[in-house]
Symmetry: C2
Subunit: 526 residues, 2 copies
């Protein structure tokens, strides 16, 4: 047995971990350093390898630190090796003890010291208190700029390495990725999450996940984490009807979810996406999905973000196990007044994870120009929502296999991300979408006005505001979201009451604009 | 005691009602005719008038007809008169017997014959099986064209008569109306739903609803029914904070809802709107509203339609006691792609009951032109949703008191209603809103293309359709929704495959349009 230190995201050295091994089992301590807050502590014990260790062996560890107490399920990593992975939420000395129905795994105890996080470790992403945005656990805003590459993590090591290199230079801080092989036509290297029992596509044993498959997958989670990228792990898809990974029986689904939660849940950059296009899975009812969420939530004391992505029928995002809405809609982020009601219905943070893709696909959902892809991010932004990118060109599909990106939107999304670095916390709020202001921001403090594909030559600078509201002074920047320029407007604008509902500067009622598409104006309070 | 026949909506004569009165109480049979299906049977019994008859006396009657069995709560109509009102859902002989904790009201029995409905009696409105539209119980489509007049029913008899006369010539088949006085500034004739206990605004006894107040209100429900108009009865509002009708204690709320359900529920044209702008009521939580819905649902065996209207926070329309979404949104019906996601979130029929109003109000929510009011109905229509009208001019507010309508949208809504008379059943469905077709209808059978305020001079007639879909022949009409003209286009259009996703007629790829705003095109399969 042993205690291993997984400093997956920072590489920082920590000290102070100890392992007290009261039993007579062989003891081995792989690392005795401290564990960073939100890092990963891993306990490894030897147990039975025969029979079906998943169904026959219970194994968990309880971790305590002052008043805090968390019981973390363990998992069998093959060959009689059992692990518990724990990401400590607070600094201090954590005591642990194990529980098992097998003597070799039961009643072990120990402790480790949890140390302050390193400079690049901000903790897991959570929904902010207002309910509509995201932040890391240390309070750093997380401004979601997502992408999707369904099968990248199942490709060859060389292609995976290329994908990671691409991501290291890209603006994306979240990637949607399938855990199980989604489509038969993209033949992945990693094709068998469960032990094969014969040559046919349905010849696999749902009671025996193959540790090697999941071990390979989690190395990519870890590598993404090192790049500061959240791994939005998709647990089911409707696509591979030949192999039928989405058609397991309930007990098999439960085992799968518990295994995945125990194995991956301690990685602080993991999000759970229960499914892609859940309503395409014909073998599962809404009640089944609800049950799987409850199973996952119970199996994941790290309480990672949870959502589900649809084809046609929006899931009910108000259900308590949903942390944020993950929506596919091809036209919702073409106007802030289209996107904003999704917040109102969900009463939660909204990510439009699929809004059609940049590309030259023969499929109409893969034919956006780069301009159209970027436009969707800006409309979503000023509606107080978040958007996801992908691209699928005929000569190369990032959406399918990862590798390189060849589209033109990526650099513009990087430009958008830089703009957001100075935007208000916790995020951009929609502003009076009923009245077509097309403004997002923080009222009386910071505004983004977006014009989409219109080509205005001036903007009447009219802001919502009543007599009792503050009348502030602003400086303005004209932003060309496509050509990536920020042009300050000389001087400032001092707001005064214009009518019952609006403010303006009577001495400077308009801002001149270049008559080009994809323009935004930023107003910052002086 | 007696059995009275209320033939509220048809005036048809029915025969066969009998009353068997086994007890020694004075018996009186007011009508012994039959009762139409979906009409109203009313049983009247004498009981105790002292104490608080609402809280101290239980009273209900069970009605049976072959296998059907319904227990209908009764109510005290003042002065010791107790009534049970029952709207029989099927034809046949209905047996009834009463239950009470008071001997004079208990164990009475009788029967009546339920006869076929008259020609104008289509039964109550229900949501259609597909979930997104409405129909009367006999299957006749109900295509909602709503209006709102909050306090009309609380005005003088003369003004109420004027309102009814106005409605008799108007296109509206549903009206939203407050049961309790909503606003102090509009001094109604009917101001005291509960018995006053002193001169102050809060001096009223929530345990004692005034029967005269509710009796007056129900005559307007009945008169609306005779006009074929559904009464969308608003049970709470946040507006009158002086009198605080929305701030009752839970037991008082329950009593009020039970009283109203027993009293009004047998009118087949009643809908329940739990509140207008529920989220403006500061004394009630979401859990309170949920509880009130459950109370109402249990108290209303007639199971009338139930919804609730919001100011900012959309109620969760997926909750099981909600039959349809009732939404306030000032910009959702300015485009079908804005409106359609509301269906997807609610997974139920959607009525945009408040979309701002036609008028010249100083308030910006009452400044729509007639054109803008009508435009909202058309966008809502092709999104598969329904819309509500009202108008509030400075010289006369239909919205507040009823009376006359002076706006310009009404005649255009009548024109719209006539168009809907030949539209598909159960209703207009949205068609591929992701791809900006701006079409509603029934695929391959009937289409409405709406252009809003655009002024196209031609329309490339391109319809969604794949190779395997039927390629039909259509005739076309150009509809001027404002000038109320329907201009047939000569000849027909025979669809052929255009590309992977669309059909067109290669010999006639476009339809000429007049270059004016508010144009629609109707395609009808030949």
């Amino acid at each position: 047995m042993g205690v291993s230190r997984r400093d997956m995201l920072t590489g920082a050295i920590a000290i102070g971990a100890t392992a007290m091994v009261p039993s007579a089992a062989p003891a081995r301590v792989r690392n005795n350093d401290g564990i960073e807050r939100w890092g990963m502590f891993e306990l490894e014990l030897a147990g039975p390898a025969r029979g079906n260790p998943i169904d026959d062996v219970t194994f968990a560890a309880t971790f305590t630190c002052d008043g805090d107490r968390l019981t973390i399920p363990g998992f069998h990593d093959g060959d009689g090796v059992y692990r518990v992975r724990f990401s400590p939420p607070r600094i201090g000395v954590w005591q642990w003890h194990t529980h098992s129905n097998v003597e070799a795994l039961d009643a072990r105890t120990g402790s480790f010291r949890c140390t302050p996080p390193g400079p690049d470790n901000h903790g897991p992403v959570r929904v902010t208190e207002d309910g509509y945005h995201f932040a890391y656990a240390d309070g750093t805003p997380f401004r979601q700029i997502g992408t999707t590459s369904y099968s990248w993590a199942l490709q060859s090591d060389a292609l995976c390495a290329e994908t990671l290199a691409t991501l290291s230079k890209a603006p994306f801080n979240k990637i949607r990725m399938c855990l199980l092989p989604p489509v038969a036509e993209v033949a992945p290297i990693a094709a068998n999450p469960f032990v094969k029992t014969g040559p046919g596509p349905r010849d696999w044993d749902p009671t025996r996940p193959d540790p090697a498959y999941f071990r390979r997958f989690e190395q990519w989670i870890e590598r993404l984490g090192a790049l500061g990228i959240e791994a939005d792990v998709i647990l089911y898809t409707p696509y591979d009807q030949a192999r039928g990974f989405a058609d397991m029986r309930r007990a098999d689904d439960e085992r799968y979810l518990r295994y995945v939660a125990a194995r991956f849940g301690a990685y602080r950059n993991v999000w759970w996406s229960m499914a892609n296009e859940y309503d395409g899975v014909k073998s599962k009812s809404m009640a089944d999905w609800d049950h799987l969420f409850q199973t996952l939530q119970a199996a994941d004391p790290h309480d990672r973000l949870r959502s589900i992505h649809q084809r046609n029928v929006y899931y009910d995002y108000r259900k308590p196990w949903i942390t944020h809405a993950s929506i596919q809609n091809g036209s919702a982020v073409l106007n802030d007044a289209r996107a904003q009601p999704h917040r109102n219905f969900a009463q939660k943070a909204v990510i439009f994870d699929e809004v059609m893709y940049e590309g030259d696909s023969s499929k109409r959902w893969g034919q956006l120009t780069g301009e159209e892809m970027v436009e969707r991010f800006w409309w979503g932004l000023i509606a107080g929502t978040y958007v996801g990118h992908s691209e699928t060109y005929q000569r190369h599909s990032w959406l399918g296999e990862g590798g390189k990106m060849i589209g033109s939107s990526v650099s513009r999304l990087a430009f958008l991300r830089r703009i957001l670095e100075t935007a208000p916390v916790p995020g951009i709020e929609p502003i009076e979408t009923w009245y077509e202001f097309h403004l997002g921001g923080k009222p009386f403090d910071y505004y983004l006005r977006y014009f989409g594909d219109a080509r205005p030559t001036e903007w009447p600078l009219i802001l919502p505001g009543r007599a009792e509201d503050p009348k502030n002074r602003f400086r303005a920047d004209v932003i060309d979201t496509w050509n990536m320029t920020i042009t300050p407007v000389e001087g400032t604008f001092t707001m005064a009451q214009r009518d019952h509902y609006t403010h303006h500067d009577p001495s400077r009622p308009t801002i001149a604009l270049p008559g080009k598409p994809w323009i935004a104006v930023r107003l910052t309070r002086v």
